[in-house]
């Protein structure tokens, strides 16, 4: 085996071990790399910022534990902006584990203590609603026909915030953050196309290439692109958190991945040239 071939056959334990180290170093010693806010996140921020005080926002937590490290910080930063702007938030979950993420998010935002918000008056959680697009269409079409109680079991007719909310006409903005392509596209179909509602969406980076055409055509007014979008939101809202720290980790570890790709390509072509010489 030539030196080139040995390099190509580098054991994956070595590669993964190095990547792991590259991820730990920036956590222990932050690099403080500069952060350039992207236009998609800025548009999300500006869309929310332009809402009048007291506007009602329908927010969908469309992710579970697997998506929390990436999308949790984006949701927390977004909620900070909602509460700072004194917006009324109706929270729902179209992902079954979304209901487990709700307390984690609210513990981090702490709206009662920081913003003096009151559950039922300023925000409410109506829980997980099965059916994805059917659930979206139902909530926008006739909320009372779909939901009878909130997540805590209180009849929604007794919740001040939901008393006069019947459906799409009462929501000023629809927002979602999700790990699912069905949910991300579903809201575009149901909120934007069917009801013409202003819509903003956050998602995993791997979904951005699929969802960006909706942003480019104005169907999504803002888009949060994974950790990058989350760190932008933390910066814009002035609530630095896990995403900004993760940005350092990402930049450092991705650089290592790029180096590996370059080494892999050089060794591949080197090995091929060596084989040709042998013949």
């Amino acid at each position: 085996m030539s030196a080139w071939e040995k390099l190509t056959a580098l054991p994956r334990e070595v590669v993964l071990g190095l990547v792991l180290i590259a991820m730990i170093i920036p956590v222990i010693r932050p690099l403080g790399l500069p952060l350039m806010v992207g236009t998609m996140a800025k548009d999300w921020y500006d869309t929310v910022d332009a809402l009048p005080e007291g506007s009602i926002v329908l927010f969908d937590i469309g992710f579970g534990a697997g998506g929390y490290p990436t999308l949790g910080p984006a949701t927390i930063a977004s909620f900070h902006q909602f509460f700072e702007k004194n917006l009324k938030i109706i929270i729902m979950a179209t992902q079954v584990a979304g209901s487990m993420m709700y307390p984690l998010i609210m513990d981090a935002v702490n709206p009662e203590t920081i913003y003096g918000a009151v559950y039922g008056e300023d925000y409410v959680f109506i829980g997980y609603i099965a059916g994805t697009q059917t659930a979206m269409a139902g909530v926008l079409g006739d909320l009372y026909a779909i939901v009878s109680v909130d997540y805590k079991g209180t009849p929604i007719a007794q919740i001040p915030l939901l008393k006069d909310v019947k459906g799409a006409d009462d929501f000023t903005l629809v927002a979602y953050i999700t790990t699912s392509g069905d949910i991300a596209e579903g809201w575009v179909y149901q909120a934007y196309s069917a009801y013409g509602k202003d819509l903003i969406g956050g998602m995993l980076s791997m979904m951005t290439t699929t969802m960006k055409p909706y942003y480019d055509t104005g169907q999504l007014l803002g888009l949060l692109d994974g950790v990058k979008g989350a760190s932008d939101m933390e910066f814009l809202t002035g609530h630095p958190g896990d995403a900004i720290r993760s940005s350092d980790v990402l930049s450092f570890s991705q650089t290592l991945v790029l180096i590996f790709i370059v080494i892999g390509n050089i060794s591949y072509f080197g090995a091929r040239a060596a084989r040709k010489e042998e013949f």
């Binding site: 991820m23 490290p69 149901q190 990058k228 993760s246 980790v249």
Partner: protein, 207 residues
């Protein structure tokens, strides 16, 4: 300072156990995988029961008898396990499929076709040079990528127009590359959150 919270230790253990698969398949990984499946299935059942209670039964208790139809349809789904009357489950399935398609297709045509075609067919010139350049790339990309999938006209791939599907293939490969790059970034992003949890919340190395 290392955390003394047992919940943090459990979370840390499962994070490490799940990650260990990246190095080699092992017993600890299998244990964490099975635990996760069990917990997720349990949660799903609880949420299913809660959904039936909150969004179905609660309406019936208010006297909205139309919801009995939904319950009957739901029960009919279980006839799939009956040897003789299994055909009954086809009715709720037909309802679900029809309902799902009807709800999504009314808007999908607008969002995925009309708006996208209108945007592609718009003027190429934009406010900035960069946007104009983007529009031209998009325009060429859409046309050539579409041409790559025209198989009924042989001349499209071998004749004088053969360059168009070739460019289209490159466009598709570029899009796949971008998508793959984003996928790698997503996975790293997800794991960076766990690294932060291990180093900060569990080991207390950083504040």
């Amino acid at each position: 300072m290392v955390s003394t919270d047992p919940l943090v230790w459990i979370a840390a253990f499962y994070t490490i156990a799940a990650t260990s698969y990246a190095f080699r398949d092992n017993t600890i990984f299998k244990f964490s995988e099975n635990t996760f499946i069990g917990a997720a299935a349990g949660h799903l059942i609880v949420m299913g029961v809660k959904n039936v209670r909150d969004f179905g039964w609660a309406h019936i208790m208010k006297g909205e008898m139309i919801y009995w139809v939904v319950f009957v349809l739901g029960i009919m789904l279980y006839f799939r396990f009956h040897r003789k009357y299994y055909w009954l489950y086809r009715y709720p399935i037909a309802f679900l499929v029809g309902n799902g398609i009807g709800i999504s297709i009314r808007a999908a045509i607008h969002s995925d076709f009309i708006v996208q075609i209108a945007a592609t067919a718009g003027p190429l010139t934009a406010a900035t040079t960069f946007d104009t350049f983007n529009n031209i790339i998009l325009f060429i990309g859409v046309l050539t990528a579409l041409s790559h999938f025209i198989f009924t006209f042989e001349g499209m791939h071998r004749g004088t127009l053969g360059w168009a599907p070739k460019i289209g293939r490159w466009m598709i490969l570029l899009a796949l590359g971008a998508s793959f790059g984003n996928t790698v970034m997503t996975r790293f992003g997800q794991y960076s959150g766990r690294i932060l949890y291990l180093v900060r919340d569990w080991l207390g190395v950083v504040a």
